[in-house]
Subunit: 303 residues, 2 copies
């Protein structure tokens, strides 16, 4: 049986692709900027050219696996609907286009759910039955694994923990609510809070650099960010009582600035047994978590 | 095969018991006050006498099923550990005592999880694969069903949604945290908020009676309570994307005072598709939800 999947992670900034074997080995990881305002045709051309690089011999492929930055329900038909970061692709049937291009089975998984599946397959939470993977980037995504199975929810919205409220009258959020954790613990939020504290920061990296230089305002930003993230994770620890909380995404580069504050808040807030059980760890797969998870979903659902 | 279970719901106030058949029919429901500061022996005497009433012919019984107001993990050994409302029973091995008394298989389920299972078997959420059952009483408990299976968590803490934070610097909670939803939407919280608003209320019923008489302070209390409950449920709707949110417990007697505020808050806060999917309903089994759920667990796990 063929056991290589061509897997790709379609993000607002980059399209990443690799050939993934059944044992989890990734070969020839390619990365290209996602063309801005690209037509579906332009995207498919890019995918085709990257596939030539990642899988020169398509006869070994069993399936094509993509992530999408959108809800993916169990009965997802492949049509991309809400894509805040890729509006020009709305209405495209990604599944059909990929099937036509490759003449192979195609599976699509939500990006944050895929990251959770990937870390559970090959990364920080491997061997763990119940885990929550939080991706801290421009926004916040989540991938929840319970009894070894991802929680997708009836409409594919399961795992959208970025919009759990942590301040009832807090900062407005792009989702239409306000006070969502995404407004307090994403890279975007870190920059906003730093500016509110009088810092000149262009990115979360700048704030972290200031922290490393002993800037107390940067320390306060990461304290606040860690506290809010801890509040959210404490609630999830009580609700789902998982063995592991995996933090992924670019913001983890500032791990030493915030992780201890997250842990402290969880131990104050969650039931002692739930807090003790939920080990807080950094993701191990970095930017490859989504590719790995997409591949895993395809390997499990195709033959 | 025998298909009758002797099921009981052990609460801080009452012990309720019934014989439950495999088709879900409950016969001879008995209720007695849970003896305060009772020894384990006194409790077992009471259980024995109630069982004579509920199941005069024990030869038809397949199993004995209890709820406990405590975390129940998958590998629960039967020893009651933390029981804030029944401290005199701490250390008792309920499972072994019941096995010795009845000489039958014994299963134990957390009370709020049992209520969720019961409503899913015979009540408001029957036929629904993903549902969250919230019990609003003296405290707040939760029972989460995902893909037809209860979420118990590694240590049996799964479903403890009463201690999700809704106000980071809010009212202190018995759990050690502060600002938990239990401090804003339980019967206890309704009384506290009413008193803070200058009302003389002894119970949540008093506050509801005042609401029915047009008291604007009572209306404000239920508005606040409904808003906070909506914030929590919106987060859970985004996290788990269930088809149904079932509200149980004594506080549901005031349904018309708060339910619309809960729904309004969910529709403001949750993803539109998640909010539209999560139907908010009142539990249908009343005080029998726990008995029904305990019986269901026993029927599924014993033969």
């Amino acid at each position: 049986m063929k056991n290589v999947v061509l897997a790709a992670d379609l993000g607002g900034t980059n399209l990443r692709m690799a050939a993934v074997a059944g044992d989890g080995s990734l070969s020839t990881v390619c990365k290209k900027p996602t063309p801005q305002n690209a037509t579906p045709d332009a995207l498919m051309c890019l995918i085709d050219s990257m596939a030539i690089e990642c899988a020169p011999d398509r006869s070994v492929l069993r399936a094509v696996a993509f992530t999408a930055p959108a809800p993916v329900a169990k009965d997802f038909d492949g049509v991309l609907k809400k894509l805040p970061n890729l509006p020009s692709l709305v209405g495209m049937n990604l599944k059909t286009e990929l099937e036509n291009l490759f003449d192979l089975p195609v599976t699509i998984e939500n990006d944050a759910t895929a990251a959770g599946i990937g870390e559970n397959w090959l990364g920080a939470s491997r061997g763990v039955k119940n885990s929550i993977c939080v991706t801290l980037g421009t926004g916040i995504g989540g991938g929840i694994i319970i009894n070894g199975e991802p929680i997708r929810g009836k409409d594919g919205i399961g795992g959208e923990i970025g919009h759990i409220c942590v301040e009832p009258d807090g900062h407005p959020c792009g989702c239409g609510s306000h006070g969502c954790i995404e407004q307090y613990a994403s890279a975007t939020a870190i920059v906003r809070m730093a500016r509110e504290a009088g810092m000149r920061a262009e990115s979360a990296k700048d704030v972290y650099a200031a922290f490393k230089n002993g800037d107390e305002r940067a320390d306060s930003v990461f304290r606040a960010m860690g506290r809010y993230l801890g509040i959210t994770l404490a609630g999830l620890a009580n609700t789902l009582n998982p063995e592991m909380l995996v933090i992924c995404g670019g913001v983890t580069q500032g791990w030493d600035a915030f992780a201890a504050h997250v842990e402290a808040e969880i131990s104050i807030r969650a039931y002692p047994a739930a807090a003790a059980r939920a080990k807080l760890v950094k993701g191990e797969l970095g930017d490859n978590a989504g590719i790995a998870g997409a591949a895993r979903s395809a390997l499990l659902s195709t033959t």
